[in-house]
């Protein structure tokens, strides 16, 4: 087991190096750089951008140097916790991200919990009552959630929340609580706004999870040990929880790997439409304006979380299911 974990950890390093190269290449692909869009923006609003200033900025941040050197500079900075400078905000990247990270985690954690709370009972019900009206009904409901684009749902919910409950449009709290320390009123305001993104992001996730749980559980329910347990008079609910449900949870554990990055990135498009104070809109904006250090740091962070998440879920799976652990380092 330890060898397996060690092996997985060593593999992570070249993976991350590869990812960092990819990220760096991709954010450098579009023509021009941040300074170019900066000038365009300034001109568009009638401001004069000093060409000299632009050239100086370029030199200062090493944009006149060849790509590989800039890459090393970037990676080297990240190693010592310097995530670079956001040109858009004219602040170090770490300052820019700040509070947003916590709000993002809040939205994501609540969404994930809600998804689980909904998906498990529904999935179990659907599997045990296969082809019943309830199964069809819940499946239909779930598929609608999956099929309706999140941003449409966001617009609809935003409208009704405003018309029916007077909730202010978009954002995670009323504007007057922005920048204020946490208080009971602020917390209530957050709760009042939180349900909208949670429902929107949650519906899609729920539907997928229900379907997978149902399918896995159906496979198990038909196996002989279930029949035997039932035949021997074990309470049907106990049978279900104790054996087939546990056996059908492999997919759930491997999903844990993707939960970590999901917590940070959330659902970007929904967040953009709802104008949430999370990291998603910031990442998209950074990519659009070619604010490359900000975007790059985000992407690297997401990559790191994905890799770590995968490690965690691999270890969990190995602990959980002995059949998996044997592969990995030892067979090689």
């Amino acid at each position: 087991m330890i060898r397996y974990i060690l092996w997985r950890v060593t593999v992570m390093i070249p993976t991350l190096v590869m990812i960092s190269m990819l990220v760096f290449t991709i954010i450098n692909l579009p023509p021009g750089d941040y300074f170019e869009s900066y000038v365009a923006e300034m001109r568009a609003i009638g401001e004069t951008a000093d060409m000299q200033e632009i050239d100086e900025l370029r030199a200062k941040y090493g944009f006149d140097k060849p790509l590989p050197i800039r890459y090393l500079h970037w990676v080297g900075g990240m190693m010592v916790g310097d995530f670079g400078y956001s040109f858009e905000y004219r602040l170090p990247v770490s300052d820019v991200v700040g509070d947003r990270l916590w709000l993002t985690i809040l939205v994501s954690v609540v969404t994930i919990i809600v998804t689980w709370l909904l998906a498990f009972p529904i999935g179990i019900y659907s599997a045990t009552h296969q082809y019943s009206w309830g199964d069809y009904g819940l499946t239909l409901f779930g598929l609608i959630g999956l099929a309706v684009p999140n941003f449409v749902l966001a617009l609809v919910l935003m409208y009704f929340a405003n018309v029916w409950f007077g909730t202010s449009i978009g954002h995670l709290m009323d504007q007057r609580y922005l920048n204020q320390p946490m208080s009971w009123e602020k917390f209530k305001s957050i709760l009042e706004h939180l349900w909208i993104p949670v429902i929107i992001i949650g519906t899609a996730g729920t539907a997928g999870m229900v379907r997978r749980l149902r399918a896995n559980l159906l496979d198990e329910l038909r196996k002989q040990y279930v029949m035997t347990a039932r035949a021997k008079g074990l309470h049907p609910f106990k049978v279900l929880i104790k054996y087939p449900l546990r056996m059908s949870l492999n997919f759930f554990i491997s999903d844990i790997g993707s939960i970590l990055p999901q917590i940070i990135s959330g659902a970007e498009i929904t967040a953009v439409v709802l104008s949430l104070e999370t990291t998603g809109p910031m990442l998209i904006k950074a990519l659009q304006t070619q604010d490359m250090y900000l975007a790059g740091s985000f992407l690297m962070f997401l990559a790191l979380l994905t890799v770590v998440g995968m490690l965690i879920s691999d270890i969990a799976l190995a602990l959980f299911d002995p059949r998996i652990r044997l592969y990995g380092g030892r067979t090689r």
Binding site: S37, E41, E47, D50, Q52, Y89, I169, V273, S275
Partner: protein, 634 residues
């Protein structure tokens, strides 16, 4: 004109009798701070000779202090709107676009060469430190002439034929700038939405300047603010275009109190603001401006649900019906203002495009005229702008003293026969089986029109033009891209034709520079390469090779040295004449409407205003410091 300017400059200070100093009243919201001894009382805050704004004379109501105005901005960078809207300038325009002394007590312009500025005695920055000629000297000597801060030397705007002015501190309240040749643009630069900064709060900024600060302390500050070197530090702390530094003293009616990054920026009243109303109340009336950062796409929806007290940015004419419907549910009023662009949408042939054949074709004036004649502007106006815009080429608006009907109507009628005839004459007479014209090299005349994809108007308009131009044998296709990429492609010559807006300033006076009409910038989509040549001082791009473009450039240079108003006016007219008759840009409609959402209680905002950046500074010339809440009218 020299006379007019001088008189106006003096007038501003002497028009109204001085009230007794005891008669001035500050806002009650500052009383607590005065009690605590943090602020002097009103007599210690106003200049000896404040600028008296006579609202009654402008047919506006004098108001009362108090209230918060909430506005929405589409991103953090949009706090730049505050200094633009606040519009406190050394000299500034009024609604009729006349220049007045504002921060200055008076100014004197001799032959447009020697400018003498007189400051108000006792005028203070928002920090309470006095505004004196030392602040001008600091900006001139220690900033503009400092090679670390301005590597290229003094700003281009201050140079006439490459030579800068002579700066003199006459006394503590008087400064003088003198050039060897006229610099008629100088005052307009100072009055522009993003003015030339010739005075800086030296008392504050000196702590970031090595001339006045010890190296150790400077090193500590550089570390504290996480910048690379002192010039970065100085630039960061002195940035006024985006007022992100809450400690930077200002002369505006409100100053920022929020440090970025933030989702909300709070601008509080400047207790030292230099204007008073006719009753002696210190302006601004409004205590606080709150700018909430939202996503640009949500702003119209939020404004329509009563979340903004004053909104023009990020709402467009297409939101008008929705906003108007919101009037019933919220205490809002939606007005329509007139946009000042020379054209709301314009097709812009790239005379510098890489494609040799198209370049030659477009450089033929007959083709440009034919393309313009081929557009049915009336249909576009009716279909896309509900008939509320005005069908015209890209030119100045009737609100400009330079307006002439023949400019805006030059080649702007719909005449398919004449257009076909012109195209035949221009050597595009051959057609293929589909009736499309053939280029001289045998290709079919298909134009790909590129857009930055920022407004839905553009695609709607292009859809209609597709049909119009088929009748003159030209096919068009649309390619939507993204602003940065679009711009880059135009400059690189890859774009044959673009769609964008017309002249930025559609309401110029002869005293404003006609640079938009000549190739002077690399973002002029009709001739970016020629513009770049001028902009870079001849080191980049190519000089214009079309006689009319050369002539425009020559005229523009002549304007810069013209000594009298009449000369400048004559130059403007010849330039407009060339620009419009040559149809360098194909304007379609102008004077389109811009909704302005305001709280019904907010007073003194005109119902019909001009909406534009230059020269009206959005709300600037309408003086937001004179807006106030009428409380009894719920």
């Amino acid at each position: 004109m020299i006379k007019r300017r001088t008189i106006l400059g003096l007038m501003a200070s002497s028009l109204l009798p001085l009230n007794a100093r005891a008669a001035f009243t500050g806002a009650a919201s500052l009383d607590a701070e005065i009690k605590q001894g943090k602020l002097p009382d009103i007599s210690g805050r106003l200049p000896r000779n404040p600028r008296v704004v006579n609202l009654g004379a402008k047919k506006l109501a004098a108001g009362q202090h108090g209230g918060v105005v909430r506005m929405l901005i589409g991103g953090q960078r949009d706090i730049r709107l505050m200094p633009i809207n606040s519009y406190s300038r050394l000299v500034g325009y009024d609604e009729q676009l006349n220049l007045h002394a504002d921060i200055l007590e008076s100014f004197d312009a001799q032959d447009d060469r020697i400018f003498t500025f007189k400051l108000r005695e006792g005028h203070k920055w928002s920090s309470g430190s006095p505004l004196t000629s030392e602040d001008f000297r600091y900006a001139w000597e220690d900033v503009m002439n400092n090679r670390d801060l301005h590597r290229g030397g003094i700003p281009v705007e201050l140079r006439v034929n490459g030579k800068g002015p002579r700066f003199e501190m006459v006394d503590a309240l008087t400064v003088r700038y003198s050039w060897e040749e006229p610099n008629p643009d100088f005052l307009a630069q100072l009055a522009s939405p993003t003015p030339l900064l010739i005075a800086m709060p030296s008392a504050y900024l000196k702590q970031f300047h090595p001339k006045y600060q010890s190296a150790e302390e400077l090193a500590r500050l550089i570390k504290q603010y996480r910048v690379e070197d002192w010039d970065d530090l100085h630039k960061l702390m002195s940035r006024t275009v985006r007022p992100e530094n809450p400690d930077l003293p200002t002369l505006d009616p409100w100053y920022n109190t929020t440090k970025p990054p933030s989702g909300q920026f709070i601008f509080k009243r400047n207790a030292y603001f230099h204007r008073v109303d006719e009753n002696g109340l210190q302006l601004p009336y409004i205590d606080q401006m709150t700018l909430d950062v939202s996503s640009p796409d949500l702003i119209a929806a939020k404004a329509g649900s009563g979340e903004s007290d004053l909104q023009m940015a990020n709402v467009d004419f297409s939101d008008y019906t929705f906003l108007k419907a919101a009037e019933k549910r919220f205490p809002l009023t939606v007005d329509l203002w007139k946009r000042t662009q020379g054209s709301r949408v314009a097709l812009i042939p790239n005379l510098n495009c890489k494609d040799d054949v198209w370049r030659k074709v477009f450089q033929d004036v007959r083709v440009r005229r034919a393309l313009s004649l081929g557009i049915n502007r009336q249909e576009i106006n009716k279909a896309v702008f509900f008939g509320l815009a005005h069908e015209a080429g890209n030119s100045v608006l009737p609100d400009s003293p330079l307006f002439k009907r023949e400019y805006e109507q030059a080649w702007a009628s719909h005449d398919v026969d004449q257009a076909n005839r012109l195209l035949d004459e221009a050597g595009l007479a051959n057609r293929n089986d589909d009736g499309l014209r053939l280029l001289p090299d045998g290709r079919v005349a298909k134009i790909i029109i590129e857009s930055a994809g920022e407004s839905t108007f553009e695609s709607d308009v292009l859809e209609l033009i597709t049909d119009h131009w088929l009748k003159i044998g030209i096919a068009i296709f649309t390619r939507v891209s993204q602003r940065e990429i679009f711009r880059k492609r135009v400059i690189g010559g890859e774009t044959v034709m673009g769609i964008w807006m017309g002249l930025d300033n559609g309401v110029p006076t002869a005293d404003m520079s006609p640079k938009e009409l000549a190739p002077t910038f690399d973002d002029q989509l009709q001739w970016p390469v020629w513009g770049l040549h001028y902009l870079s001082g001849g080191t980049d791009g190519h000089p214009p090779d079309l006689p009319e473009a050369i002539e425009l450039l020559e005229l523009m240079k002549k304007w810069k040295t013209a000594g009298t108003y009449e000369q400048r006016e004559a130059i403007w007219h010849s330039m407009l004449e060339i620009f419009t008759s040559q149809v360098f840009t194909i304007g379609i409609v102008n004077q389109s409407l811009q909704p302005l959402v305001k709280s019904s209680k907010l007073q003194n905002i005109p119902e019909n205003g001009l909406f534009g950046y230059d020269p009206t500074s959005y709300l600037g010339v309408y003086m937001p410091d004179t807006f106030w809440y009428k409380e009894d009218q719920a």
